[in-house]
């Protein structure tokens, strides 16, 4: 007899302006304190054991953070989906989103009006960023690596959990840019596809020991270093490679459905082994020099291949199959019962490398679209963070290739956008107010809230009790270290702006960036800086930042529009 138990009724919560405000401000503090090169680290740790993660990256934090309030879950879900698509500017999106929600909630304007006005402000921002006249964006010139190096260096320095000093940063930057350039195919065909950079972990060594190698590395503990490798080559001095994605250990005779009845005197293992040895004979006859198997190779087959001077590498793993087949042109063989000659690939060279105490078989292809980055770092947690950072850097370079633009970093884009919006919103025509169905005062209030949120992101870069200034000419962001005598002028205390473009040679009209809304600021249109791109700029990814701005505002609007939460408690 089936029973229906009384279920818990759904929980019905009305949202007010104060709902989840404490949790929201806690979440916001967590993100703000991790932002930027001086950010503080967070340690994620389960009391029952397991590994510990020390990070300042949003992707790692959000994956493990458990949020209970539904409103905050919407925020974390949006930021996670942004990071999964674009890898960068996760913290920027999160901080901006929380700040927008707090600022808009504190205004005395109806939520519907706030949503309309903020959407209009967003469209102003996006139009400005996409226009030619935008003063905070830099176009990326692919004929020199200068801007790419600046981009990668900005990303590496913004993650303090990697614990890198200046030489290490420079070394890794060059490696990552080189790896990216390796993945670009030399001959541009119609369907050119970017290659891949595989990261090989070596923990416990210094960062400067990291190297970049073309081709792939497969870990092979049993290959001895002493003997030089003699690998069979074909007529054209290439090495033929056979790639197997099926297990060659002789245990693949179990059918999924049905049963197998074996008669007396017959052993299925012997049958399989004989078949494997037949395969070995066929490989030797076809002059194959290297056999790579995703899973395990039977020891007898390995011995046979070794006697016939065929190198056998097993346990390559699933993640290497696709790069291997792309690199060598071989098609992974899926059955040991039918070998077809059209599925072999070719390599230029094979040798043995060793790092730390690990031994690898190094496969070198003819064209180096696939490369391997041997990444070293002293501790496990620092290595994890470094791996994430390298993957982010590679993704940012790919995104920049699609859209060759970069934005000024160090908080300057945020303050510049804020100055632009302040200028624009004070000069809107009255017909726009009618279209938006709001009054000018309401518009100014919302625009002020929006600009303060952007400025608060820039202010989050400052963790050490100094001051954050902005100038009224270019709209850039300037940091003043703490401990200055109170009677000095701003121009004596600042040296360079956040992104490195401007310095204090001219007298720019600086003002303090405040959190609360103060007196209305009269702003003229921010100008473009006259200094050109140099080697020490801080740059951010254009696509990631624009998308982050959009996601943050849309999520904030979504939260502002919410009136009720209905939760199913079963």
């Amino acid at each position: 007899m089936s029973r229906l138990e009384a279920t818990n009724p759904p929980l019905f919560i009305t949202l007010t302006k104060d709902t989840a405000s404490q949790s929201l401000s806690l979440l916001s503090r967590i993100f703000r304190s991790s932002y930027g090169p001086d950010g503080r680290l967070k340690q994620l740790h389960n009391g029952m054991g397991g590994c510990v993660c020390t990070t300042s990256q949003s992707s790692a934090m959000l994956r493990h953070l458990s949020v209970s309030h539904p409103v905050l879950r919407v925020v974390t879900a949006s930021v996670r989906s942004h990071v999964s698509r674009l890898s960068d500017c996760g913290l920027f999106t999160a901080i901006l989103c929380c700040s927008l929600i707090e600022n808009f909630r504190s205004l005395n304007v109806a939520p519907g009006t706030v949503v309309r006005i903020s959407t209009h402000l967003l469209s102003l921002c996006m139009d400005y960023l996409k226009s030619e006249a935008c003063c905070c964006r830099v176009s990326v010139d692919f004929s020199s690596v200068q801007t790419l190096v600046c981009l990668v260096r900005s990303i590496l320095t913004s993650k303090p959990a990697c614990i890198l000093n200046k030489t290490e940063v420079d070394h890794l930057t060059m490696l990552i840019v080189k790896a990216f350039l390796f993945t670009v195919p030399c001959h541009a065909e119609t369907n050119a596809v970017l290659g891949k950079c595989v990261i090989v972990p070596v923990k416990g060594r210094r960062v400067v020991d990291s190297t970049l190698l073309p081709g792939l590395l497969i870990e092979a503990p049993e290959i001895q270093l002493a003997k030089p490798l003699t690998v069979k080559r074909t007529g054209s001095d290439r090495i033929k490679i056979a790639l197997f994605c099926v297990s060659m250990s002789g245990d693949s005779f179990n059918p999924e459905e049905g049963t197998i009845a074996v008669h007396h005197g017959i052993s299925l293992e012997m049958l399989e082994l004989n078949q494997l040895l037949n395969v070995g004979e066929q490989l030797v006859k076809d002059e194959v020099g290297l056999v790579v198997c995703q899973k395990v190779i039977h020891p007898s087959l390995k011995q046979y291949l070794k006697e016939n001077h065929v190198l056998a590498v097993d346990r390559a793993g699933l993640s290497l199959m696709e790069p291997l087949s792309q690199m060598t042109g071989s098609k992974p063989i899926a059955s040991i019962h039918l070998l077809s000659p059209g599925c072999y690939g070719s390599l230029k060279d094979v040798c043995v490398e060793s790092f730390a105490s690990k031994h690898f078989v190094h496969l070198i292809p003819e064209d180096t679209v696939i490369c391997s980055l041997i990444l070293c770092n002293r501790s496990d947690t620092a290595w994890d963070e470094l791996k994430r950072v390298c993957e982010t850097a590679e993704h940012v370079l790919q995104l920049t290739m699609k859209e060759p633009l970069a934005l000024l970093g160090g908080g300057c884009t945020e303050t510049h956008l804020a100055s632009y919006i302040r200028h624009k919103s004070s000069s809107l025509s009255s017909s726009s107010f009618k279209d938006l169905d709001c009054s000018q005062t309401q518009y100014q209030l919302v625009a002020d809230g929006f600009c303060r949120s952007l400025e608060s992101v820039a202010r989050s870069l400052n963790h050490d009790d100094g001051e954050v200034l902005t100038d009224m000419v270019y709209g850039h962001c300037w940091f003043v270290p703490s401990g200055y005598p109170s009677v000095s002028k701003w121009s004596d205390l600042v040296s360079k702006c956040g992104c490195g473009v401007n310095d204090n040679t001219e007298d720019l009209n600086w003002r303090l960036l405040q959190g609360q809304s103060g007196s209305p600021i009269i702003q003229s249109c921010p100008k473009e800086s006259s200094v050109k791109v140099n080697d020490f700029l801080t740059l951010d990814c254009f696509a990631a930042k624009c998308s982050g701005l959009q996601v943050a505002l849309e999520t904030a609007n979504l939260i502002l529009d919410l009136s009720y939460i209905i939760e199913d408690q079963n």
Binding site: A77, R85, P255, G258, L271, H337, L338
Partner: protein, 414 residues
């Protein structure tokens, strides 16, 4: 150029032993031969597909590695694990049924293939999809709408809203004929309901129907009469149909001024035929594509005409219930004007009633229009629902879940 696609619902690789089948191995040669036959069979199928110019295999089952391997060798792309709905949709669009490897005699070309103009891979966000341009044999060309949003939940809600809008558009073009038959079929359903005997239920449920600010329609002395009324489910009938030139101007062409001609609702009555006070020479009660401006005009119009009918009605019970329904209709525009400032509802109501009295066209709403047919269906459904609820006198709590009528045979006895 043109490529062909094949639909399959089962794995192409024959298995060594099917479910419940036992494969007996007598000798080594036999085993090896069986394995080789399996691989050879898959290769033969792939060769056949290649010669029939099939470049895309759409499979609802997971295909084994051998199949993927041979497909790659022969230049065929494989898409696996399609859902049932997707397979059915593709089958409907292309008119092609799935290919069965067992039933194939391996000679001649495969005929059950779909033609596709392109099939490049597409990266949507973080998902890899394949974009197939199938040429359709039925009336419509398939299109895909990609909805973007910051979170998955928002996208689902947008998708549902879009579905609702498409359903509304389909309903927009329906017509309602002015026929006795319409009322008779409706009254059949009404007669099936049981009679309600309790005074309290009727009264309290009537309370919920009426609006708080309206004058009390229920007179304590008349409550018995009202209960009898509910027992017989007679509610007010119809509304005048000022059919004239106005109807033509409503057909989705709301640039011109709209006349208030569209309030035609057929409600049900007692076992007699439906009384339709429809005058005019148009044959249908609601023309296809009839629309009204949004903002509560439909409700106010219907309210006005029901009151008008109630005043002319001979039976006092029908008049009273009509008034209840008419006043209940006003709760919708009240909700709409609740968030705006001041007495905007009263203002709107008086303005509309004045225009109706003077027979003037309705003011245009800048926010849009709504379909009259959909609103008509809505009012009918609400009245049905209210009638059913008012006839319930007891709700019984049960421990075992109810089963549908068809499952009666399989019910197990304790």
């Amino acid at each position: 150029g043109e490529l062909r696609a094949l639909l399959v619902t089962e794995p192409l690789q024959p298995s060594l032993a099917g479910p419940g089948v036992e494969f007996a191995v007598h000798s080594e040669g036999q085993y090896r031969g069986a394995q080789r036959w399996i691989a050879g069979r898959v290769e033969a199928v792939m060769k056949r597909l290649q010669s029939s110019n099939v470049k895309l295999l759409l499979s609802s089952a997971k295909q084994g590695e051998v199949v993927t391997y041979y497909a790659k060798l022969h230049g065929i792309s494989v898409v696996e694990c399609l859902s049932e709905e997707e397979m059915a949709l593709i089958g409907e669009i292309t008119g092609v049924s799935p290919y069965t490897p067992l039933g194939d005699d391996m000679c001649g070309e495969i005929t059950e293939t779909a033609v596709a103009a392109f099939c490049p891979p597409l990266l949507l966000g973080s998902r890899r999809c394949v974009h197939v341009g199938l040429s359709s044999v039925c009336g419509f060309q398939p299109h895909c709408l990609i909805l973007c949003g910051p979170v998955d939940g928002v996208n689902e809600q947008h998708a549902e809203a879009l579905q609702g809008a498409l359903t509304m558009l389909q309903q927009l073009f329906k017509t309602v004929e002015q026929r006795e038959g319409c009322g008779a079929e409706v009254t059949q359903k009404v007669v099936e309901y049981t009679f309600c005997n309790s005074n309290q239920v009727s009264k309290s449920q009537l309370q919920t129907l009426k609006d708080e600010t309206e004058t009390k329609i229920l007179d304590p002395d008349k409550s018995d009469a009202l209960v009898d009324n509910q027992n017989n489910h007679s509610t007010a009938v119809l509304v005048a149909h000022n059919a004239d030139t106005g109807t033509a101007s409503e057909h989705l062409d709301v640039g011109e001024g709209l006349e208030e001609t569209s309030c035609n609702t057929v409600l049900f009555e007692r076992e007699e035929s439906c009384v339709s006070i429809a005058q005019g020479n148009s044959s249908s009660l609601i023309e296809a594509g009839s629309v009204l401006p949004v903002g509560g005009y439909f409700e106010v119009l219907l309210h006005y005409y029901i009151h008008h009918y109630a005043k002319q009605c001979r039976q006092s019970e029908v008049a009273v219930v009509s008034s209840v329904v008419a006043d209940a209709l006003l709760s919708i525009p009240k909700c709409l004007y609740r968030t705006a400032e001041g007495d905007s509802f009263t203002h709107f109501y008086l303005k509309t009633i004045n225009s109706l009295r003077k027979n003037e066209p309705l003011p245009m709403s800048k926010e849009g229009v709504e379909s009259v047919y959909c609103k008509y269906q809505l009012v009918i459904s609400v009245l049905y629902c209210a009638a059913e609820l008012l006839s319930i006198d007891l709700i019984i709590d049960i421990k075992r879940p109810l089963q549908k009528i068809e499952d009666c045979d399989s019910e197990d006895e304790l």
